[in-house]
């Protein structure tokens, strides 16, 4: 049975939600990985969950990047195995240089929790193959530092490599300032690395895996990644 490792930094708080989705919704195996552990090879995928690792001290994700587990996460990614960073996990991936760009404070300078609609820009990835191209999916955001920033060169590179996976939109798929909750450049909500095995995204797919919670369209991220 496929086994997912969910990294737990001090201050992670979406670890349980991801674990629960893998175990209870997808009925696959999952294990917590304490941030001081370094044996990752036996996992099929690694998730860096959301939360406030190390209290967001210094800068979101900046301290977690130096946890012992992170060198192994980098090695895990380098051999082509799938890694997802969600919310704070995305921030950690950027700090670890596994993905390009940066995340800055939301444009309104406030924490923002709300449902968003995402357009699946690229469904030919390890994480989105169960979606249709340009499919509109719904999942919540909940962050203070989720405003994705990329300079022109980086943006061009993202476009050239088809690395923009999700963009904030509305139910019609319109991508504009009106459908941009946090000021992210080009409404970018999620990106992958050039190799295609590392995904970072601000919205929370793990919170959108059961209809009773308002949406089950987030499950595709995990089911694609695990080939189910």
């Amino acid at each position: 049975m496929k086994k997912v490792g969910v990294v737990v930094f001090p201050g992670s708080n979406c670890d349980y939600d991801v674990y629960n989705v893998i175990k209870k919704v997808l009925k696959l195996d999952a294990e917590y990985i304490w941030h001081k552990e370094t044996a990752l090879r036996h996992y099929d995928a690694i998730v860096l969950p959301g939360g406030f690792s190390f209290g967001d001290h210094l800068r979101a994700g900046a301290v977690a990047r130096f946890s012992p587990v992170m060198q192994e996460v980098i090695n895990f990614a380098n051999i082509g195995k799938p890694v997802i960073g969600i919310c704070n996990g995305f921030q950690v991936l950027l700090e670890a240089n596994l993905l390009p760009g940066a995340l800055i404070t939301n444009k309104h300078l406030r924490f923002l929790c709300r449902d968003t609609f995402l357009k699946v820009k690229n469904n030919k990835t390890l994480f989105t193959s169960n979606y249709k191209e340009n499919e509109i999916i719904k999942m919540p955001i909940a962050h203070y530092t989720g405003n994705y920033f990329a300079n022109e060169d980086t943006y061009k590179q993202l476009l050239d490599t088809n690395s923009i996976v999700f963009q904030y939109s509305n139910t019609n798929g319109d991508i504009s300032d009106d459908t941009n909750p946090n000021g992210s450049a080009h409404n970018i909500a999620g990106i992958i690395n050039e190799k295609g095995n590392v995904l970072g995204m601000m919205p929370h797919p793990e919170r959108a895996c059961e209809a009773i919670l308002g949406s089950d369209t987030g499950i595709g991220v995990f089911s694609s990644m695990l080939g189910v």
Partner: protein
């Protein structure tokens, strides 16, 4: 002050510590001598209202505090505990942090959340939701906007970082709260019956440990400060407000829940108000034991702290843990994993006294019993006097007020009143979906939280209309409970228990105490009818300043149980063609209404009438209809009356452009009909085919059930001949009001 020399203790110093002459005499009698400086400090915080409830306990004891589902009674543990079946229990409690928030809104609100969460997880319960209840002065004043902004940021800062969803709450604005904002924080946790930990200390020779943050000088005398009115004098005496660190508390949460699983942990209590003084004495009192504490072993973050300061410090994110002797290394190992401090600071004795030493010198020795509520703390029966304003306001003839000319405008004005308007500007700053249990997020009648591993859910809300209590304290108290119960009923839940936070003025003022006594009486009467025992809570007196006093504001935190997930119900209209029904009778009472305030600039009249037995039958009928599967939406009539309720039901469906057409023939003015805040009325929508079923349920419960209109798909709201307006216009008014007000645009 030098660490060696303590000031001479005399009556003057005792008075400066907020003690009265009688209490000063009582302390000397207990000790058989003049107290030391450290002892004086301990008595003053432990006998403050905040810790001892000395001015309120006589009244609080009259509240119903028993019920078959209660696993511990009110005041017995850090929070109330209610059985929900499946071997699970819910721990929940609400507490005020008004005074710190008035001074430093961000940290005051943040540490309010931190404190209430510790109360929950020290019982072994995993916190699953936070709520709050807030009151501020009008947003036209920049100071009030600052307070709201920072209180919300403080709540968000703490709850979000902890990863506990803030799922509900309420906020009202009135001049009386300008100098006295109210910040009440509530938390809910889940625990297995066999995982419950007690806040007890016992077993001669067992070890006393402090875990979590180190101790500083912050918040010394916070509990005493909270027990006087805010004045220039008290401002100068004011303690440093505590500073919260939610990251440390998140680690403490995880470490504590690990500890709670261990048999060698005898008891555990958080340190909130009155810090080590409170936790050592309360835990010992409960276990009929004593303690010896060596102050120098307490991890400190500041130099040369005195025993007085260490005992009274309200530094956050600390716990006192009683551990079976010789298991200290196991405890340390758990705390070390989470990078937290953990020190042995003393031991349990079989003496009745708490003995405080520093470097071998005795600084304090007081019997625990004399420091604790239910023990030797003073109990006062305060004088009451019916306030003179009551007759004048209650008897005011409101029927002579001019009727509005443009009802559409009045409705928009009400919808854009910050008391009614959309609160997403606030709740979107809270992470309300973390932990993946939030089935109904903020914005409906109550929030609904799933209980994982079961087919059950909890519905929960906070309610308390201070205006009604001001106009009629007893009935206002009844309404606070009735409305909270109605809100969880509209979400499909059976009300099972409440927690309360009683925010009032100075209890030494007989008119204030009259309000307090009557409001508590009213709450008790309602709790008896709804079978919702009071599991605990908090009293906050002295919410006064030289210029203003707050409305008497009892806040109810209601817990409802949804036995079957299919019964989860939301407030907004669902489908075109559905029948709009009301259970109950609209009486057109506009006393104390938002309409009266916003349109006629009056706070007067009597609070709406309430028959508790009738209310109970309306709620029972609603629940039966929900259980029968025929209810598509349910909400009650509250602020702004039927007009606002129907508008919100249209506005809150964001997926469809719905409208409604309502026609009611009544012998009353349209403003009374549509803006009166009649109690015991529930607004439902049903499919036409279920009309007979609903009528049968209503008649069995002997309550009126009337069809008042239909849901439309034209996006127009029509109420009789007086209101005809596009829902989009109403939505704009409703949604934009709060953001505009916070930007300082004229209200």
């Amino acid at each position: 002050m030098s660490k060696q020399q303590e000031p001479v203790v005399n009556w003057k110093l005792a008075e400066e510590h907020g003690l009265n002459k009688e209490e000063w005499g009582k302390i000397q009698k207990i000790l058989g001598r003049v107290p030391t400086f450290t002892e004086l400090g301990i008595f003053s915080v432990m006998w403050s209202e905040h810790c001892s409830y000395k001015n309120s306990i006589a009244e609080l004891k009259k509240l119903p505090r028993d019920g078959e589902k209660l696993l511990v009674g009110a005041g017995e543990e850090n929070a109330g505990l209610v059985d929900i079946g499946d071997g699970l229990a819910v721990a929940f409690k609400i507490e005020s942090h008004n005074h710190p928030s008035a001074v430093e809104p961000f940290q005051g609100a943040a540490t309010g959340v931190g404190g209430i969460l510790r109360d929950i997880f020290t019982m072994g319960a995993r916190p699953i939701a936070c709520l709050n209840s807030l009151r501020f002065g009008p947003l036209s004043k920049p100071r009030n906007r600052y307070l709201l902004d920072h209180v919300v940021k403080g709540i968000a800062h703490y709850g979000n970082c902890m990863g506990i969803p803030t799922v509900g709450g309420e906020v009202y604005f009135d001049e009386g709260y300008s100098e006295n904002p109210l910040v009440n924080a509530m938390a809910i946790g889940i625990v297995k019956h066999n995982g419950i930990k007690s806040a007890i200390s016992k077993g001669n020779g067992n070890t006393v440990m402090i875990v979590g943050s180190s101790t500083g000088r912050d918040g010394i005398h916070g509990a005493t400060f909270a027990s006087v009115e805010i004045s220039e004098e008290s401002e100068s005496k004011r303690s440093n407000v505590q500073v919260g660190d939610p990251f440390t508390e998140k680690l403490l949460l995880e470490a504590t829940l690990e500890l709670c699983k261990k048999d060698y942990v005898i008891g555990i209590q958080d340190m909130g108000a009155a810090g080590i003084a409170c936790s050592t004495s309360e835990m010992s009192e409960k276990g009929n034991s004593g303690m010896i504490i060596d102050i120098e072993k307490v991890p400190m973050r500041e130099q040369e702290m005195t025993p007085y300061e260490v005992m009274l410090s309200e530094s956050q994110e600390r716990m006192l843990v009683i551990v079976r002797k010789e298991f200290e290394p196991e405890v340390k190992a758990i705390l070390e994993k989470w990078d937290l401090h953990c020190e042995v600071v003393g031991k349990v004795t079989d003496s009745p006294k708490i003995q405080i030493n520093m470097n071998g010198k005795l600084y304090s020795e007081i019997p625990a019993w004399d420091l604790c509520l239910g023990g030797g703390t003073p109990v006062y029966y305060r004088k009451t006097k019916r306030p003179e304003y009551l007759d004048k306001l209650q008897q005011e003839d409101l029927s002579q007020l001019p009727e509005p000319k443009d009802y559409n405008e009045v409705l928009k004005k009400l919808l854009s009143s910050p008391n009614i308007a959309d609160k997403s500007w606030i709740y979107e700053q809270y992470d309300y979906s973390v932990r993946t249990n939030t089935a109904v997020p903020p914005g409906s009648s109550a929030a609904v939280i799933l209980v994982k591993g079961t087919n059950k859910a909890l519905a929960t809300c906070t309610d308390g209309n201070g205006r009604y209590v001001y106009l009629n304290p007893r009935r206002g108290g009844q309404i606070a409970v009735a409305e909270a119960a109605r809100n969880v009923v509209c979400s499909g839940a059976k009300p099972i228990a409440i927690t309360n936070c009683l925010n009032f003025g100075n209890p030494n003022d007989p008119e204030v105490y009259y309000q307090f006594q009557n409001a508590v009486m009213g709450m008790g009467e309602a709790c008896n009818v709804f079978d919702t025992p009071v599991t605990g809570g908090n009293v906050s007196f002295y919410n006064e300043s030289p210029d203003t006093a707050i409305f008497p504001t009892p806040v109810i935190g209601m817990l409802g149980l949804i036995e079957n997930l299919k019964n989860i119900t939301t407030s907004h209209f669902k489908d075109e063609g559905d029948f709009i029904m009301i259970l109950g009778t609209i009486k057109g009472e506009i006393g104390g209404s938002e309409y009266l305030k916003v349109v006629h600039d009056k706070i007067s009249g009597d609070a709406p009438s309430l028959n508790l037995d009738f209310e109970k039958r309306v709620q029972t009928a609603c629940l039966q209809a929900i259980d029968a599967g025929i209810v598509k939406s349910a909400t009650d009539i509250s602020d702004g009356g039927l007009g606002v309720a129907v508008s919100e039901c249209c506005i809150k469906n964001t997926e469809k452009t719905l409208g409604a057409s309502v026609y009611i023939s009544r012998k009353m003015r349209d403003d009374e009909l549509f803006f009166g805040e009649t109690q015991s009325v529930i607004l439902l929508t049903i499919d036409v085919s279920n009309l007979l079923k609903l009528e049968t349920i209503a008649s069995k419960n002997m309550i009126p059930c009337v069809t008042i209109g239909r849901v439309k798909d034209d996006g127009i709201l029509k109420l009789n001949d007086c209101i005809n307006v596009p829902v989009e216009e109403l939505r704009d008014a409703y949604v934009q009001a709060l953001p505009k007000a916070m930007d300082g645009e004229l209200l």
